[in-house]
């Protein structure tokens, strides 16, 4: 009853209901949102980190990287150092250390000598008139116990994220390559990647790995399976170090799975006894202030969304990655770092499926303390919600209640629209209805204006990403000017028409504001799910927009307040904020904007957020990625799972295959044997390889048969129909594992097939050949192919090119 009477009271006070209450609610939302964030570091709101993926077993193995390996490390370092020095002398570039071709060749030859398959990739990017080019070198250790379906990446960039020469890091990676090669326990391939710098090299490599590289980047001649994780090694100084600094922020605010970070912390801190730091908090006493500061730093980095190291480029492809940076002066040497990396690799090697157990959305406040999305998201949502509340209130106000005296006659009728008093006369009714028509919301102008102004934002976006970097400072000041003048001009145009247009009515002001705030709230709440920090920051900067309104009252007061508001809003406008922050941090505007344009052009910072499909279409399934369209035709017949899982699995397969279809090398022949399937989502996650096809295999356009996907966790079997072909590649390349690359298709193929089984009919040979047409054969497992005329359990593993 009390509630009812409260509502009745509210109805009787429209001024309070439509004007004051929304303001109060909005303000409360903002205050609570900010307070919420400030409360997060408290013990009650944050949690201790824990390893959620049991397979990782961090620090449970002994790391053997010691002793004699150090001599090899010194030898490699000496060689590289002398080559670098030579290069410096001959090219006399002062203290600017450039990676010489000689040093790159040395890396190449060391990897080759260690027994790895080595390949190189040249790339070139142009952004804001600056050209970035270089050559990546990488080597692959094929897993002795694996099937080349999964791989771990170790990255060493010649230049660290801070542009220092990473000589010891590169040397350590080389030493580890030689050391890892001799172990027989790897069940995942290990890729060693050496890039010239931390910004472009990894991006070029990872794009090419997933066949999404631009023209200016070479494709990769050599690939392995789906990447499970990446660790970046930095060691840019000569002395020993004290602590490990773990960098984890990805492009666009994406974060690696928390398990990877926890593993690194557990191994560094627990097993090796090296402390771990994060977010450049060298002295962390686990106090409230320190936690808050760590969290804020993390949020700033996430919100800005730029790459904080070579690992950042991996994140958009759903590959969890971190950078390990030794920091401080202490007594830990490169061997300790090497052992840490060895141990992390062993943990990743244990993984049965892609890291998925732990959190992807979190804010870290200490190396062992975090808050997860459920706890922190409400703060950004409250701030986004404040705009929506205001938008709804303004909308209601235009329909139910008008506070303007100028439109009094329309006003009284507009109330009547909803509840006019009863009248019996026909013409009276008509008058009322006409009045109702007048009081209809005039939406055309507000809608056009709001849409148009938002589209106008594309102009600076285009300009700042396409002009040369010399003009950035000037362009910023131009936009400051435009930001000041344009609103004034628009306001004048709208309020008295300037002789061009009809002046607008107060209702339209409310509608314009309502639509603009609705759109803002909409975008911010969507953004909050993708990049919490960015949404929070923008929300706070825009918060005053909720409370700006038309003023009434005496002219001097009105002018005073409105010019104050004008100054405040301009201070919060994007160009001024950028200038202010640059002034405060002492960075030049030009370099910030160059970075931003670089992010847009190379890392696709926002482009990937706006257009996830084009960029991220093929996460983690390089093999499937290039699988031509064809399939989706899996009718699972029997499965040792319960019906729910069955249906999930079928959906997941369909979905994965549809994803593959999008890569549409349309209508090509595809043999499903050896097709790697990656299934994930809704409780099931796994990867597998199709290993069997039943004998009902036909020549020609169609094939039918059973197939069996061996997954890590389940066995999925089913039926495949309708595989067909249109374009067939004429010059297939067949490479057998362990042999040199050869182009002679027929012989090579015949050899492979002969080696597999002798009784084979032509049909199968043709079938197999068609299957092999597209890529490289890594392995033909002869032992399993025995019985009958047809391949019963032929294990053709191939990656499709």
């Amino acid at each position: 009853m009390a509630l009812k009477s409260a509502i009745r009271n509210l109805r009787n006070k429209p001024q309070f209901l439509f004007v004051c209450l929304p303001n109060i609610l909005s303000f409360l939302c903002i205050v609570v949102g900010v307070a919420w964030l400030l409360l997060l570091p408290l013990d009650d709101n944050s949690r201790r980190t824990y390893i959620s993926e049991n397979a990782l077993l961090p620090g449970q193995v002994h790391a053997y990287f010691t002793g004699s390996e150090q001599n090899i490390f010194r030898g490699y370092k000496q060689e590289l150092q002398s080559l670098l020095n030579e290069g410096r002398e001959t090219e006399s570039q002062g203290d600017e250390v450039e990676v010489t071709p000689a040093a790159s060749n040395k890396v190449h030859s060391i990897l080759q000598a260690a027994g790895l398959k080595v390949a190189t990739q040249k790339y070139e990017y142009t952004s804001s008139g600056v050209t970035h080019q270089g050559e990546n070198i990488y080597g692959i250790i094929h897993a002795p116990r694996g099937d080349a379906t999964e791989a771990i990446v170790l990255v060493a960039a010649w230049k660290t994220a801070d542009d220092e020469l990473n000589l010891k890091g590169v040397t350590l990676a080389l030493t580890l390559a030689r050391y890892f090669k001799r172990w027989s326990l790897w069940s995942k391939d290990i890729i060693f990647l050496f890039t010239p710098d931390s910004k472009t090299g990894t991006q070029a490599w990872i794009d090419a790995y997933h066949d999404l590289h631009p023209e200016s980047v070479q494709p990769l001649p050599l690939k392995s399976g789906a990447l499970q994780g990446a660790v970046v090694i930095e060691f840019p100084f000569d002395h020993n170090f004290q602590k490990l600094h773990i960098v984890y922020d990805g492009v666009n605010g994406q974060l690696p799975n928390l398990d990877l970070f926890n593993t690194a912390v557990a191994i560094a801190g627990g097993q090796m006894g090296i402390g771990a730091n994060l977010q450049e908090m060298w002295e962390h006493d686990d106090s409230y202030e320190a936690r808050l500061q760590t969290m804020m730093r993390g949020m700033t980095k996430q919100g800005l969304g730029y790459a904080t190291g070579a690992h950042s480029s991996f994140m958009p492809y759903h590959i969890d990655a971190i950078t390990l940076q030794p920091k401080g002066e202490g007594w830990e040497d490169e061997m300790a770092l090497g052992r840490t990396i060895e141990s992390i690799c062993r943990s990743l090697n244990n993984l049965l499926e892609h890291l998925h157990q732990s959190f992807f959305f979190y804010l870290l406040m200490h190396s062992n303390r975090f808050v997860s999305i459920g706890t922190y998201l409400p703060s950004a949502m409250l701030i986004a919600g404040n705009f929506t509340i205001m938008a709804i209130a303004l909308w209601m106000r235009t329909g139910y209640y008008s506070d303007s005296k100028a439109t009094a006659p329309v006003d009284s009728d507009s109330k009547n629209t909803k509840q006019p008093k009863s009248g019996s006369q026909d013409d009276e009714n008509k008058a009322k209805i006409n009045g109702a028509a007048l009081a209809e919301r005039l939406m055309a102008l507000p809608l056009t204006l709001v849409t148009g102004l938002h589209l106008l934002g594309l102009v600076p976006l285009w300009i700042f990403n396409n002009i040369f970097h010399q003009y950035f400072t000037m362009a910023t000041y131009v936009f400051v000017g435009v930001d000041i003048v344009l609103p004034l001009f628009l306001a004048a145009l709208l309020s008295n028409g300037l002789g061009v247009a009809k002046p607008i009515v107060p209702q339209q002001y409310h509608l314009i504001k309502s639509f603009a705030l609705l759109l803002l709230g909409l975008s911010l709440s969507t953004l909050a799910t993708l990049n919490f920090s960015l949404s929070f920051m923008i929300g706070l900067l825009c918060a005053p927009l909720s409370f700006v309104g038309r003023l009434e009252g005496a002219a001097p007061l009105r002018y005073g307040v409105s010019s104050l508001g004008f100054v405040l809003l301009n201070l919060l406008s994007p160009p001024i904020v950028v200038l202010g922050v640059c002034q405060y941090t002492g960075v030049s505007v030009e370099s910030v904007l160059t970075q931003a344009a670089f992010g847009w052009n190379v890392w696709d910072i926002l482009a990937s957020a706006l257009d996830p499909v084009t960029k991220l279409i093929h996460t983690s399934i390089p093999v499937l990625q290039s699988v031509p369209h064809a399939i989706n035709l899996l009718h699972i017949q029997h499965l040792g799972l319960n019906p729910v899982d069955l249906r999930n699995a079928r959906n997941l397969i369909n979905r994965t295959l549809q994803q593959a279809q999008r890569q549409s090398l349309h209508n090509q022949v595809l043999d499903l044997i050896g097709l790697h399937l990656s299934l994930r989502g809704n409780g099931i996650e796994g990867k597998g390889t199709v290993v069997r096809r039943s004998p009902e295999d036909h020549l020609g356009q169609r094939r039918q048969g059973d197939f069996l996907v061996e997954e890590d966790t389940h066995i999925v079997s089913g039926q495949i129909t309708a595989v067909k072909g249109e374009e067939q590649l004429s010059q297939p390349v067949v490479r057998c594992r362990g042999e040199r690359i050869q182009n002679g298709v027929q012989e090579e193929l015949a050899k492979v097939v002969d080696g597999v089984g002798d009784q084979r009919s032509d049909t199968e040979v043709v079938g197999a050949r068609e299957a092999l047409v597209f890529g490289e054969v890594f392995e033909v497992d002869a032992g399993q192919v025995q019985e009958g005329v047809f391949v019963e359990r032929g294990k053709f593993l191939f990656s499709l090119e």
Binding site: S424, T526, P612, R647, S664, R702
Partner: protein
């Protein structure tokens, strides 16, 4: 029919806008074609390509279980050049279909049936938009544009439905039944529109003819025409595919039994993923019965406005169909401006539209988190499809409320504008 400058302007602008979009962003159609919000298993252009491929090589298009669309689309599309090499002709075909649909909407709007019919005359009949504005709402609706660019085959069903309605309001009841037959042949569910459409035709007939025909005989006649047209189309299909039962089970069986649970904007897929197999048949029945039950209820309650029943049913389909996509929503949104006179009576438009806007932004974001980023799961996307359906349901319920209120005001002229109270 004389074509004035405004019509040409709107239609031309719509055409040029679509052309500009595919010329400026050549990857856009393929991107949209792959979106689950636009392409479902029963209207996906990519699946059509698959069927076409098999068809042109003399293999049954339904082999492989990918293609589930009507066989008659195949000869049509096999006449067009391959989309991979030359996408423009196909795109132009879709643009033209959109314009034809808009033309049908203009006819419907200009007939004035939405405000003034045999049994009903709206109170606020002067508040209305002309045909060109209604067509513009349809043509410039982002959902329509997305459907058109994604080359979803639902646009042909839309054509069938709109032509059935436009012929019904102009009194060509035979043509209306033929068009409805075409739409039902393509995607089955439009057959549910038969009852309100026959009533619409019947009302038209009452208006024009001096001697009113017998209602039952009239209905039976038209049911006969509808069945004959569907039978004719099925006969043609048999000529094309050769195997009657195979294509029946691959198309209509697929619609009815919902075996493919690829995510879409509807409510069925998640429910049936979670369902245990033993209950599947029962709930399939319940879901279909639920969908079909709206026909009777709405037709009886809104007997005086059969056109409004058709419009509302389109909204119901957009929410409760087994494989809905945004093209169904765009068809429903296209019919709403015909009822411009009801807008002042609607109460929750802003909330409904906000919910729809929120879900159309959050949907792709959550799908991204689920499928690509791997940091979300299926529940994220399903939650958003619930919001989407909620938005549509509010809009639908609100418009029905407004229509009933309008009828009531017509019956009680003295009570116009009084506040109603829900009891």
């Amino acid at each position: 029919m004389a074509v004035d400058r405004r019509t040409v302007g709107v239609f031309g602008a719509a055409f040029v806008l679509r052309l500009l979009l595919i010329c400026l962003f050549p990857s856009l159609p393929d991107l949209l074609t792959g979106r689950v919000e636009v392409s479902t298993p029963v209207n996906s252009f990519k699946r059509l390509q698959e069927g076409l491929y098999l068809y042109t090589r003399n293999v049954s298009p339904y082999d492989g279980g990918v293609f589930h669309q009507a066989p008659l689309l195949l000869p049509l599309f096999s006449l067009l050049p391959g989309v991979q090499s030359n996408p423009i002709p196909t795109a132009i075909l879709y643009f033209l279909v959109d314009l034809v649909n808009a033309r049908a909407l203009v006819t419907i709007s200009e007939s004035g049936q939405s405000v003034q019919s045999q049994l009903h005359s709206a109170v606020r009949k002067h508040i209305r938009w002309d045909g060109v504005s209604v067509a513009a709402w349809f043509l410039f609706n982002p959902f329509t544009i997305a459907t058109c660019l994604a080359r979803s085959t639902s646009v042909f069903t839309t054509t069938g439905i709109l032509f059935a309605v436009s012929n019904a309001v102009t009194g060509n009841s035979v043509n209306a039944m033929l068009a409805l037959g075409f739409a039902s042949y393509l995607s089955l569910y439009p057959a549910l529109l038969f009852v309100p459409l026959v009533l619409l035709c019947f009302d038209q007939r009452l208006q024009s003819a001096n001697k009113p025909p017998n209602g039952i005989i009239y209905g039976l006649q038209h049911a006969g025409i509808l069945l004959a047209s569907i039978a004719g189309l099925l006969g043609l299909s048999v000529l094309i595919t050769g195997n009657f039962w195979e294509f029946m089970s691959a198309t209509y069986g697929f619609h009815l039994l919902v075996p493919d649970l690829t995510p879409n904007v509807g409510l069925w897929w998640y429910f049936f993923i979670e369902m245990f197999d033993s209950f599947r048949e029962f709930f399939l029945g319940v879901f279909w019965l639920h969908l079909a039950s709206y026909v009777g209820g709405l037709t009886m309650r809104l007997r005086r406005q059969p056109l409004f029943v058709v419009a509302s049913l389109l909204g119901v389909f957009a929410i409760f169909k087994p494989y809905p996509s945004i093209s169904d929503a765009s068809l429903y949104f296209a019919t709403l401006p015909l009822y411009r006179h009801l807008f002042p009576l609607m109460r929750y438009t802003f909330f409904a539209i906000s919910a729809i806007l929120y879900s159309s932004l959050l949907g792709p974001a959550f799908y991204h988190l689920w499928i690509y980023a791997g940091s979300g799961n299926a529940n994220f996307f399903y939650a958003i499809t619930l919001v989407w359906s909620l938005g549509l349901s509010i809009l639908l319920a609100d418009s029905i409320f407004a229509a009933i209120r309008d009828e009531w005001e017509q019956d009680h002229p003295d009570a116009q504008g009084t506040e109603v109270k829900q009891v």
